[in-house]
């Protein structure tokens, strides 16, 4: 029997009262894979992410990591198992420094307890030094140019996006879920993101991407899952999806590759 996939989502369902946000979604992600989830606004992409990462309790279906059921775990337990994420609307710790934001990702790996902190033991100093060095390393990795000692909210938007990815990487994930990482970025920043995604893959981290920018999606994805009204209408290579009549009809509307981009809905957890 072959090893189970890194992430397996089976028949995932979620409804809010009368609204069915996710309606029987299934897909798998292998080690080091890169997959995109696309679909119009309100299709249930973010909701699916929230179910996978434990923020929403799905009304049905199963999420497993390495064959282990993680459906009912709280978000911190899912994160501890190596699933990291960013949020559609930036969720940085705005009043804390950029470095502290990234240190958050290292929380589970910083080896010190309250006594170490009270007495400033060598173990405390060492763990703090390692954490700081590693935080700088991740900020270098994402190519942050801004001031690392400043409050995160004072950085430009594009830089804040980088900090959020650095924070997610600092968690040491095997699977990274990015919710619309290119939203709000200019052309140059999008190219840098593309390059960054490639380098994340080289680290052996599997990626799942929610993204509206079709150019980026087609270029970077190995596979694409298409959602519409919570239902999965296609799952295949970029080539297959591009030519799928159901996708063209339901999602793209026209032959045009870029979807209409209405204002992004505000979400509770996004």
């Amino acid at each position: 029997m072959s090893a189970p996939p890194l992430l397996q989502v089976e028949d995932l369902r979620l409804s809010f009262g009368g609204v069915t946000a996710v309606d029987g979604l299934s897909f798998t992600v292998d080690e080091g894979d890169i997959l995109s989830v696309i679909g119009p606004n309100g299709a249930g992409k973010t909701s699916a992410f929230n179910c996978i990462t434990g923020f929403y309790k799905p009304t049905g279906g199963k999420v497993s990591l390495d064959g282990e059921d993680i459906t009912r775990l709280r978000p911190s337990a899912v994160a501890a198992k190596g699933v990291s994420r960013t949020f559609q609307n930036l969720r940085l710790f705005g009043e804390l420094t950029v470095l502290d934001n990234v240190r958050a990702g290292m929380h589970l790996r910083i080896k010190q307890n309250a006594i170490d902190a009270l007495l400033h033991t060598p173990r405390f100093r060492k763990s703090e030094r390692i954490a700081t060095e590693e935080a700088h390393k991740w900020l270098d990795f994402v190519g942050l140019r801004g001031d690392r000692a400043a409050e995160a909210r004072n950085l430009p938007y594009g830089e804040q996006r980088r900090v959020e990815i650095a924070r997610a990487l600092a968690r040491g994930p095997r699977l990274l879920l990015l919710d619309e990482p290119a939203a709000g970025l200019n052309h140059g920043e999008k190219n840098e993101l593309l390059d960054l995604l490639g380098r994340i893959r080289e680290l052996g981290i599997a990626l799942v991407l929610i993204e509206h920018d079709m150019g980026l999606v087609m270029q970077v994805s190995r596979r694409i899952v298409v959602l519409n009204f919570g239902k999965e209408i296609a799952d295949g290579t970029p080539e297959q999806v591009r030519n799928d009549p159901a996708v063209v009809e339901a999602y793209l509307g026209t032959e045009d590759e870029t979807p209409a981009g209405p204002a992004h809905a505000e979400e509770e957890i996004s």
């Binding site: 502290d100 958050a104 929380h107």
Partner: protein, 329 residues
């Protein structure tokens, strides 16, 4: 101006300056009255620093903090007067009692939204006071009297001057301890929870445990301050732990600047000493006090000395600037 101010705020010697002021104060005035005002101010500092862990660092609103103060004072008072324990020996028991109280009250409520916590803690403060009022072991409405002073070995520290200096040492350690916790892995987690619970969870931080840890730490600080309070007054009663205490301690934290150690220390001194300075105004003193507080909050809503999340020389190794930010967050 702003940069001058922030460099002053990051002064590594700030803690030492505060300590020096506390040590030298009795040389300015050492009457029994001024010593008692200064000792009360120190206790207030300890309470405010403890509540700051809960409210300032972790962002949890606690309206019944005096309950932990009462638990500490009663636990040590009962052991000292009825079972002849020395006050120092009661410290472990007080810590244990504070932890248990913190778990009992925080355990169920910290799972709920934070508004519920405010209401439950408000009730908890009252329950503790009413319980003390009705139990026999706590002396009912008349409370406990004859609480001994602190003595170490054979050294009696109960004279006003000796007790003041004992408090200086204890409170300095409490302030340093809280500030150090605030700059550790746990302290950062408290702030992550305050800033954004979902993002903290996404980073693998068990937010419930982190909040409970803040609540328990606050309980320990409050309980230990209670020991000193009993020793200072030699008598305690349910009347000593009304809601006014909880409100004043919270006021010190908010006024000084939530999450900022220097701010909270200044806030506590202000809130405890100002009513004394206004004694001349007799009946109007709490009225003037209230007006002053409102004025401060209008012109400086972030507190007198707000937190300042800037790391100095971020590129430098942590060990170099280790003591730099010591007192600042």
């Amino acid at each position: 101006m702003a940069s001058k101010l922030s460099s002053l705020m990051e002064n590594r010697y700030l803690g030492w300056i505060g300590l020096a002021i506390a040590l030298l104060a009795p040389f300015v005035s050492a009457t029994n009255y001024s010593l008692s005002v200064m000792t009360s101010a120190l206790l207030f500092v300890m309470l405010a620093v403890g509540l700051n862990i809960v409210v300032g660092y972790c962002g949890l609103l606690d309206l019944g903090y005096a309950a932990f103060f009462a638990i500490g004072a009663y636990t040590s008072g009962v052991l000292a007067t009825r079972y002849d324990w020395s006050l120092l020996a009661t410290i472990p028991v007080v810590i244990l009692a504070a932890v248990i109280a913190g778990v009992v009250i925080g355990g169920p409520t910290l799972r709920l939204r934070s508004d519920y916590l405010a209401i439950v803690t408000l009730g908890f403060g009252e329950i503790i006071r009413i319980t003390a009022n009705n139990l026999e072991i706590t002396g009912g409405p008349s409370g406990i009297f004859g609480i001994p002073g602190i003595s170490i070995g054979g050294l009696d520290l109960s004279s006003p001057v000796a007790f003041y200096y004992t408090c200086v040492v204890a409170v300095a350690l409490a302030v340093l301890g809280a500030a150090r916790l605030g700059r550790s892995r746990l302290g950062r987690a408290w702030r992550f929870v305050r800033e954004d619970e979902d993002a903290a969870e996404a980073m693998g931080i068990h937010t419930y445990k982190v909040k409970l840890a803040a609540y328990i730490a606050g309980a320990i600080w409050g309980g230990l301050a209670g020991i000193l309070f009993g020793a200072q007054l030699t008598a305690i009663s349910p009347q000593s732990f009304t809601f006014l205490w909880s409100a004043l301690i919270l006021m010190a934290v908010v006024l000084g600047g939530m999450g900022s150690t220097p701010g909270v220390v200044i806030g506590a001194i202000f809130v405890s000493v100002l009513p004394e300075l206004l004694r001349g105004a007799a009946d109007y003193r709490y009225f003037i006090f209230g007006v002053l507080l409102i004025v401060v909050m209008i012109f400086r809503p972030q507190g007198v000395w707000p937190t300042h999340a800037v790391e100095r020389s971020a590129r430098k190794r942590r060990t170099d600037d280790d003591s730099t930010v010591e007192v600042n967050q």
